[in-house]
């Protein structure tokens, strides 16, 4: 009897609040409905006659100061008459906070650098919370439009299956900024009188020499011949030697319009076997699976590692002159590709306009400037004479920024937002000398002949498919990563490979391939 009373009490209080929580439907916003007013200028600066304010939900990276305090945005407000009211949400816990804001409909006008995935874009976009941008871009964003025209794959990879563009990315036409490079310790190599390796076998021999012959001449066997951030990072870089690519943001090869998902491929087995040999002989860092990012970074920054992959030299700048970028190594079957390349539309989800935004046209003009030549330099460098100068026609940060004792990203972040964030703008060979010093550019040029003809970005699926892929990949990726690690460290024997393959098949390998094939056919097939 007592229990019944309690339950009745609870259900009463529940019932009374269910209605309190009910909220009415919002009409799905139509961007063309809110036509810009007289206050708006379609070209030139200022963007608006009388000042307006945009609420911007932005991720503040660990090195950034609050964005509204940055010189770039203070100046930009004067130029545009648009006040950007930044939320400056810190990186730690950012996703949790963003998800909550989205789900309580406490929407800002704009999201910048908000870590959105393609799944988010489709989910919230098709439900009307983000407005389609393609029309606005056509009308008011000449810079972005020019990039779309010049590089058709950008628009392809940003367009959802329903034909809308809900989010923008960064636009990285600088090849070097889209790929990791193989760095080899040239000092060790010269000390031992060895040649730059050209095949996986030669690479192995060099690593053996690094291990045994004390190339740093300190009398101790403290050299780490090869290391990496994690197994996946190493595989995605070295897989070109076995002809495997990283298309559509996944473990995928595309040949003659056929999509092939390769984790069960025999060539993948060969890669793991090769890495297993390296691991067993302690050529590959044996702490690979447990080391933390900082440990790895420290090892490379102190030149304790002979061979590793990294995009630029920023984390080992003090010893960078000991290293050279090399050409990719050729595999046993003669394949020689470098496929760890991101698409031009890098960092998807960098910019979105919400349905709560009363100024869509103003907003798109506000962001578009940064995708032009002048605007991209402004966003990255600030004001000439104050935060940068031209040297040989190329914008260059002063030495107190580049050689700042707290790091160059920290120094840049005092006036410009880009380090550690993704804000839609154009990154090209003329505005990137901080991330792309000559040494890095040289390394990139060595790779260029070996990259596949087309680099396809991850596709956008429709909402139902996106969810299905996500559910499938969650389990499959866990299984692949876990099994691969065990194959490499020897816990699992390669005799068990058939088992691995049949489990993958059971988990839906064919289905994944099919879904990606379909996405390829609709998005990329000409």
């Amino acid at each position: 009897m007592k229990k019944n009373v309690t339950f009745a009490l609870i259900s009463v209080s529940l019932a009374s609040v269910v209605f309190a929580g009910c909220s009415g439907k919002d009409p799905v916003a139509d961007p063309t409905a809110s036509a810009p007013t007289d206050n708006f200028h379609a070209t030139g600066f200022p963007i608006v006659e009388k000042p307006i304010t945009l609420d911007i939900f932005n991720r503040q990276s660990n090195s950034n100061i609050p964005w509204d305090k940055m010189l770039v945005f203070r100046e930009y407000e004067k130029m545009t008459n648009i006040k950007a009211s930044f939320k400056n949400v810190p990186t730690a816990g950012f996703n949790e906070k963003r998800n909550l804001i989205l789900n309580t409909k406490d929407l800002p006008d704009i999201f910048i650098s908000a870590n959105f995935t393609r799944l988010d874009a489709v989910k919230y976009g098709t439900s009307g919370m983000f407005i389609p941008l393609e029309g606005l871009i056509d009308q008011y964003a000449p810079n972005i439009k020019a990039l779309f025209d010049q590089y058709p794959e950008i628009k392809q990879s940003l367009t959802a299956p329903d034909g809308h563009i809900y989010m923008l990315s960064d636009f990285v036409t600088l090849f070097s900024a889209r790929t990791a490079k193989p760095w080899l310790n040239k000092k060790w190599l010269d000390e031992l009188g060895l040649e730059v390796p050209k095949t996986t076998q030669e690479l192995k021999n060099v690593l053996i020499a690094f291990r045994d012959q004390d190339p740093n001449r300190n009398g101790q066997k403290d050299e780490i011949p090869m290391s990496g951030e994690n197994l996946g990072q190493i595989v995605s870089n070295i897989n070109g030697a076995w002809g495997l690519e990283n298309q559509m943001g996944n473990r995928i090869n595309v040949q003659d319009d056929k999509v092939r998902y390769w984790p069960a491929d025999d060539r993948y087995k060969q890669i793991l076997q090769y890495l297993h040999e390296l691991y067993k002989e302690k050529l590959l860092d044996n702490t690979l699976f447990t080391q933390q990012d900082t440990e790895y970074l420290t090892k490379t920054s102190e030149a304790k590692v002979g061979f590793f992959y990294k995009q630029a030299t920023d984390t080992f700048s003090a010893v960078a002159d000991q290293f050279i970028g090399i050409e990719p190594v050729a595999g046993p079957n003669g394949d020689r590709l470098h496929t760890q390349v991101q698409p031009i539309a890098r960092s998807y989800g960098a910019f979105a306009i919400t349905s709560a935004n009363p100024y869509p046209a103003e907003s798109i003009r506000w962001i578009d400037y940064f995708s032009g030549e002048e605007g991209s330099i402004f966003l990255r460098y600030g004001v000439e004479g104050q935060t940068f100068n031209y040297a040989d026609g190329v914008p260059t940060y002063p030495d107190e920024v580049l050689k700042n004792e707290k790091g160059s990203a920290f120094a840049i972040s005092q006036f410009a937002p880009w380090p550690g964030t993704a804000i839609t703008h154009w990154i090209n060979d003329k505005n990137s000398n901080a991330v792309n010093p000559p040494q890095v550019q040289e390394a990139a040029e060595k790779l260029e002949p070996y990259i596949p003809e087309r680099i396809l970005g991850a596709p956008l699926f429709d909402a139902a498919t996106a969810k299905k892929v996500d559910t499938l990949l969650t389990d499959v990726n866990t299984y692949i990563d876990e099994s691969s690690a065990k194959f490499v460290n020897g816990e699992r024997s390669f005799d068990d490979w058939d088992n691995y393959v049949s489990t993958l098949n059971k988990m839906g390998l064919a289905e994944i391939e099919e879904i990606y094939q379909e996405a390829y056919d609709t998005t990329y097939k000409n």
């Binding site: 439907k25 439900s127 919370m129």
Partner: protein
């Protein structure tokens, strides 16, 4: 019948002050705990913010089915249960033992020192704890393996081995929290009537006997209540530390329901999915609690309600 309810009314009226005291806390519970409970329904809906709680499509048990049919469901369940059980068997009694030990130390300085020192690790952030585990247990440079090899044992790559994961997780948890968790028992011990000890002493009880016959029974109600609460959280294994300790090689033992929710629900903003797994956990917890509470009430006369 009439008479009985009159009596009840009278008993309640006499104690009106007690109800007044309860008023403010109860209002708080209703506003901050019961009012938001309408949110539970999103576990059965495909929640879309623009459609609201009542407008989002009803999907019934779809999210539950998705979770149960995950390839890893059994593994997640097993790891969660075994870690919890291990924790209840090992990590729960140790603070009790520590409190009794501290209580028995005669030297005031030593007692204070031990209390203070065991209390401190609670404040070290988990990020640092896991960092230290990596350093101490490293198979190449870690001091634990130096010690092991000094006594002739082969180095063990603790952090890479699935079979060591639970031991490392729980023993480091004990190390970090035993002092903190013993505080409650120390407080309960200090609330015991000193006359009881005197009487036992006069009866000629040894120190050990006094512990067993005075201290332990004295804090038993506290132990039982905390055990009930502990079991009521059986399915909730803290995820932050596990997440930081996880790697591809120990995943087999380290993937638990809470890390799974974190990866697939919270990070992806899938509130419906997180809510349904959360509800599944809560249901099991609640059933366990009701069972253990009923059992405790019958056997020990100590219970939650």
């Amino acid at each position: 019948m009439q008479d009985r309810s009159n009596k009840l009314m009278k008993r309640m009226l006499v104690r009106y002050e007690l109800y007044l005291m309860l008023l403010l806390p109860l209002v708080w519970f209703i506003i901050f705990q019961y009012v938001p409970m309408y949110g539970v329904q999103i576990a059965f809906r495909e929640f879309m913010p623009n459609l609201g709680f009542l407008g989002s499509p009803w999907v019934g048990f779809e999210h539950f089915e998705r979770f149960f049919s995950s390839y890893y469901f059994e593994r997640l369940l097993w790891n969660t249960l075994s870690i919890s059980l291990f924790q209840t068997l090992v990590a729960f009694p140790i603070p009790i033992f520590l409190a009794l030990l501290i209580h028995e130390i005669q030297n005031k300085r030593m007692r204070k020192l031990l209390q203070n020192v065991t209390y401190m690790p609670h404040f070290i952030s988990i990020v640092v704890i896991v960092g230290m585990l990596n350093l101490f247990l490293s198979s190449e440079t870690g001091f634990v393996n130096h010690v092991l090899s000094a006594v002739g044992i082969e180095p063990i790559a603790f952090m890479e081995r699935a079979d060591w994961f639970k031991t490392v997780l729980i023993s480091s948890g004990v190390w970090q929290n035993m002092g903190w968790q013993s505080i409650i028992y120390i407080a309960a011990l200090s609330g015991l009537d000193p006359q009881l000890y005197e009487a036992a002493k006069i009866d000629g009880a040894s120190r050990w006997q006094r512990v067993m016959h005075v201290s332990v029974p004295g804090i038993l109600p506290t132990i039982i209540i905390l055990l009930i609460l502990d079991i009521g959280h059986f399915m909730n294994v803290g995820f932050e530390k596990i997440l930081l300790m996880q790697n591809e090689l120990n995943m087999e033992a380290s993937d638990v329901i809470s890390t799974f929710i974190y990866r697939n629900g919270i990070l992806k903003g899938d509130f419906s999915y997180s809510a349904s797994i959360g509800l599944f956990n809560a249901l099991i917890n609640f059933i366990l609690l009701i069972v253990i509470n009923a059992y405790a009430r019958r056997k020990t006369e100590t219970s939650l309600w």
